[in-house]
Symmetry: C2
Subunit: 281 residues, 2 copies
Amino acid sequence: MFGNNKSILYFAITLVSVENTITKSSRIREKRKSSKIVKELNKYISVDCVIFGFDYDNLNVLLVDRTLNNDVNGEVLFSDMTLTGNHIYEDEKIEDAASRVLFDLTGLEGIYLEQFKTFANPDRISKPNDRAWLLNDGRDPNKRIVSIGFFALLATQDVTLEWKGRNVKWVPVNEVKELAFDHNDILDEALIALRNKLLQEPIGFELLPDKFTLSQLQKVYEIILGTELDKRNFRKKVARMKYLIPLDEKQKGVAHKPARLYMFSCDVYENTRKDIFGFIV
Amino acid sequence: MFGNNKSILYFAITLVSVENTITKSSRIREKRKSSKIVKELNKYISVDCVIFGFDYDNLNVLLVDRTLNNDVNGEVLFSDMTLTGNHIYEDEKIEDAASRVLFDLTGLEGIYLEQFKTFANPDRISKPNDRAWLLNDGRDPNKRIVSIGFFALLATQDVTLEWKGRNVKWVPVNEVKELAFDHNDILDEALIALRNKLLQEPIGFELLPDKFTLSQLQKVYEIILGTELDKRNFRKKVARMKYLIPLDEKQKGVAHKPARLYMFSCDVYENTRKDIFGFIV
DNA sequence: GCAAAAGTGTTCGGAGTACACCCATGT
DNA sequence: ACATGGGTGTACTCCGAACACTTTTGC
């Protein structure tokens, strides 16, 4: 852009031997209950996590059933869905709170997580269902609740869900109906942030298993950006990204020519990224 | 990027006649005190505004003197600086609170303002000076304070400062010393957000008067991105941006060939931008 | 053998980059 | 007259865009 010397948007590449690279931090797959000591919860600050999961066909978001029953006769007053979120402990960092929500749901740590926007307008809890829900939960629906929005990226298949007995499920983002509170707004903003981030940094692989094929990666870009990409051009571009490392390993059990697997090298990426930043600043 | 059809990062241009364009909303220069009715302030939610001002030589940030005196003998306990910020009224939207801070300081409305990150970790008010300051102000330094960070862009020359008798001043961003609370972190993050935004959307002109020269605009990019740009290449690029409209007007009173003035057409920009978004989504 | 996705090369246009001189004004 | 910043064109390279056929596997 605008350039003298090297373009700022382009990535200078230095070669790093493949043996010295490290993939993204391996995830803890074993599940255990959150071992947090019970401390005071702040009822008016919450983190909301927009958890995106990709299943090779759709971009999904993780939603939680919210059903309010009549105390007396158990009649269902309403039933809808919310994003995943929770309140924070008084001495907890907000990033830790977001990681905790994610861990409680999925048993995974080291997931890509990014703060994208905060929602704190007074009218975000004005709908009758939301007010009833808060009252039932012992909260004051007239008090402002600050929600700090994070989005997380993971491969749907890496996860089996559980969350405190509540029903959670994956919903394709374009099939999401009306959600609780202002969660539709939060989801929309998360999608915008995700798109912008995807155009700026290579985070697409975060939605895939550690080893993935180029077609899978291409599909990530196509679905999030809502466009179709040319296979040959895409692969030429990937060839320039030295941090996407081809493995001597192929897909198995597919009814067609098996594709080569690739992995992302965080190490190579960080090294090459430093060069640009040193140049800009 | 990755392309089939048209590149997503490039701006499709449609021609719009200059007569139909509107510049950015004209700013109210007349000063008046904020006419807000006094309502309850929420002492634990604040907006912090990183107000950037450009003066053709430096990118500056607006800082406020913070001096704590001993109640008894008036001795100065410490003196440092903070970003501009304030608490929010219970029924106020956060964007409105940020606009209000900006208006109280500068008397300007319609300024470019963007939420960029929220700071809410419990250790952000751990420094002794900060704790003393909060105590003196009747607040509990052990309670978490959520600060929603905004940054604002304006031309230093468009503003004469006043803020409730407190001393405010412009400081070049690379001469900022240690600030109160975690305001150095907030400033750093604001700079990163500003850089990213500048690479993504044409907001450079927000740091300039309504009518500006191309050299001034170039300097905005050079200083914020920390790089040098070639004059001819920059001008070729600008020629492609149809929303930067050359005027039949020149600089006056300069001791060299007077430069042509340009303005930004928000109208043209929005129209051309729709084309791309319609294409992506 | 057939269905299904993997994999591969070339041409064209446009943008990024590097580079040097004359012009209009105020003092 | 001179100092100061304004304003302009060309050549090269690289990337983005468009486009079609062969290969390998499972069934």
